[in-house]
Symmetry: C2
């Protein structure tokens, strides 16, 4: 199959496939007479694995390691478990941080309902004055 078909089947853009090839995530495929890339079932599976990882937010560099591990699976897989665990911790931290940010933004939103000039806009004032509006938060220094 040509690159466009592979792209459709995997949901990965054509340019991104070429990019993954350049980065060494997928091997250089055979070519047709006309120099078009030709992919087979193995390539499809490999790219599906990659996309599956990407949808889990796993970074290309980590995927590269996992692929190397797949290609050479005698080693102990504990590090994969650890990778996933570390990733979960990161995601949790992001969620907490965004939740915190959301609270602040909501406080900020309450500072002004719109319809003011700049100088009397409560949001602008709050951003100016470091928290007349958002002073209540114990978790940070806004």
């Amino acid at each position: 199959m040509k690159i466009g078909e592979l792209a459709k089947k995997t949901g990965c853009k054509v340019v991104t496939i070429r990019y993954y090839e350049k980065e060494g995530l997928i091997p250089k495929p055979e070519r047709t007479e006309g120099n078009y890339r030709l992919y087979g079932k193995e390539d499809l599976k490999r790219l599906e694995f990659i996309m599956h990882c990407r949808r889990h937010g796993i970074k290309p560099e980590a995927i590269k390691k996992m692929l190397a591990f797949k290609d050479n699976p005698q080693r102990d897989c504990t590090w994969v478990t650890e990778l996933v665990g570390a990733h979960i911790a990161e995601v949790e931290a992001q969620i907490a941080s965004l939740g915190h940010l959301k609270e602040h933004l909501e406080q900020l939103r309450h500072c002004c309902a719109g319809g003011h000039s700049g100088a009397s806009c409560g949001i602008m004032q709050s951003l100016d004055s470091h928290g007349e509006c958002c002073a209540a938060c114990a978790r940070c220094t806004f």
Copy 2:
């Protein structure tokens, strides 16, 4: 005050201050004889405003607009309220998406406790096979 002092007072790195200058977020300051940047109270306030916005996750481009508005505040501030509202919506979407991702990652983690070789690692298998492990999710197509 010189750039280092401004950096300390605002928590913004020296290089980032210079970057903000290049991007037009802060004006080009006076210079000493030795070509060092010299900042005053107004610069400090402006950069504090910027940092306050950045800590709220507001992007430099939006901050630029807000600064222009501050410099010229006769206009109606409704768009600021809308900006904050849109930002809140974004943050909420991110939180939801990350929460979803976290569920998947936890399912994935349960697939293997480590100590296996690559071929028998449940995590690798799950990432390979498209969700033998994560098939329960109704919200996505992992």
